[in-house]
Symmetry: C2
Subunit: 354 residues, 2 copies
């Protein structure tokens, strides 16, 4: 993910990803339709608009997983996830994507959209419409009605932005005469949860593993770092960049995924961990992630819907009314947000009072 | 609050208040010290910096209450509240205030600061440092360390900003070797809670009461509107502006206050209700406020500390996992935020999907 010819002083890579997750509603008239019916060549053309490309592919019967030149893409029956770092422009592919989805899967209705990201370290390097969250919200509002933009955390520093659809609970309020809820008959509720751990100020010794100097293969970096032990049930597709940088996708038989992306340069180190593996408590998973990467600070986000076994896990983040720390990583901020079908928890941890 | 000579098209008044609440720590060495020892003349000079002035005064043995030309001020033993609307500049009085407090009350340590406001309808009319929340945060960070800025609600539309001190719970974590917590021995915990209901798009018939055309005295407006029935235990000091606009402070024997400010012009109607009266559930108080003013939408904020009887009332805002509406005012957004000594709930309600 780095260009070795860059002047070191001016060299910068924005590890922070833009994460786009879309859920489509299956039309009542059809039990068929699958996002994985979109031809590979069409996906490649789509990613050109984003300014990235496919570099590796893995799949099982539940999900297709792509390692990209800038992060990852996951395509399941009715869920599309595109996570891209650097100066990519994922929002620009949104309209073409909606066309492809209608054409090849027959889905015309977006059930959920989650567009999220941490604050960029260097926003001025981004391309339109990603230069500011306000620009991104304006862009998304030109496509979706009833969208809402949130800023969680310290708006001045380590914060995290989310754009999603507003509104009261469409699943539990079937009796409402809400014009948005015409199609509630056809909503399939499936358990869903997504954990992200977005880490900065990482241990340089750990980061040095993710360079071609230290490890000759991605598999070596995966094992030496302990990434393979975080969720051992995952079948891993990993990639080590030249001269440094690392990406991996993991898939489990039951359809769960994990994905890790590493920008190891000490001046702007960044690691993201994401999974939708169901857990009653994510404390152990988070602990393993922190033991592997040893960040100086991190943002934690957790989405859980009502069917998720992790439904009560916002409580995992606090104990009684006391903050729950991870070793010397102390919890500075906790926020909850009720979305229309999901509960969202946000927390920020750091080693020293910032 | 309005200038009758203004051209009607260009006439605008920003009803949205800037709310500054400061708590000072009593020094271990002294049991004396009281913010009410600051001479009136010094307070008047302070308010000149803010661009407003005292127009009415009431008090009991627990708190001094001032109606201002732009909203209200409350001074208690160690708590200072300044709420000002229009294009006032309350942050500019912060440093002079800290000097006055040290000089006359002997308090040198700020225990809590809460600076909050709804988004301005016309931010471009504000004066520095109030032109943007980022400017306000920068200004506050020049005075306080460990401050944090939050934006709750839809960052694009009806949102609410808060600046406060960051950090883990200073009261329950006395064992921490946190350099900020040197003086925890001396912390007095007293129950505290603050409810605000910030209403827009108000019923024009209700608003017309708060004009000199409809009511000849403030007392008449207070009674006709039903403001006097919201919290009947309050002794009311009310003021009706020429040609329109209304302010009131209410004080109860136990030291609780309430305050209401009304900008009645239909083009930019705004009403704020605030109280620290302790309630296990605020649902009934909120219902009364909504019945009096009939807003099209409102933001609700509730701060509760650990000693407050309202400690669990974030739960009042939702029922089970379902949103709790107020009649046709439906809950669109709910957020919680754990602050170092307070839990904060935010909710946004509106009549129609916005």
């Amino acid at each position: 993910m780095s260009d070795p010819d860059d002047n070191y002083d001016s060299h910068y890579f924005e590890g922070v990803e833009k994460l786009l997750e879309l859920w489509f509603r299956k039309p009542a008239s059809s039990k068929n339709g699958d996002l994985r019916d979109i031809p590979r060549q069409k996906l490649e053309a789509l990613l050109k608009i984003v300014n990235c490309e496919i570099i590796s592919f893995s799949s099982n019967d539940r999900v297709d997983a792509y390692v990209l030149s800038e992060s990852s893409m996951f395509v399941a029956e009715r869920r599309f996830i595109l996570k891209t770092c650097g100066t990519t422009t994922p929002l620009k592919c949104l309209k073409p994507l909606l066309c492809l989805v209608e054409q090849h899967a027959g889905f015309t209705e977006v059930e959920e959209i989650f567009y999220s990201r941490k604050n960029f370290k260097r926003p001025e390097l981004q391309k339109s419409p990603h230069k500011s969250f306000q620009d991104e919200v304006d862009f998304l509002n030109s496509i979706f009605k009833d969208g809402v933009g949130y800023c969680l955390g310290n708006s001045d520093e380590d914060c995290w932005y989310l754009y999603t659809l507003q509104g009261t609970d469409v699943i539990n309020n079937n009796n409402n005469n809400n014009s948005n809820n015409n199609n509630t008959d056809n909503i399939e509720i499936e358990p869903d949860q997504t954990l992200e751990v977005l880490m900065t100020d990482l241990d340089p010794q750990v980061m040095s593993l993710f360079t071609k100097n230290s490890c000759s293969t991605a598999a070596e970096a995966t094992q030496k770092s302990g990434i393979d032990k975080i969720l051992p049930q995952m079948v891993i597709d990993d990639y080590l960049f030249e001269p440094c940088g690392y990406s991996m996708n993991g898939l489990s038989k039951n359809g769960s995924y994990m994905t890790i992306h590493i920008t190891p340069e000490p001046e702007f180190s960044y690691v993201s961990f994401e999974t939708n593996v169901p857990q009653v408590s994510y404390r152990e998973v988070i602990q393993k992630v922190l033991q592997v990467f040893r960040p100086g600070k991190f943002v934690l986000t957790l989405f859980t819907n009502k069917e998720s076994v992790a439904m009560d896990s916002p409580g995992v983040l606090k104990r009684g009314k006391k903050y729950c720390n991870f070793g010397d990583l102390e919890c500075r901020e906790v926020q909850y947000c009720q979305l229309r079908n999901y509960d969202l928890s946000f927390a920020f941890y750091s080693k020293f009072p910032s």
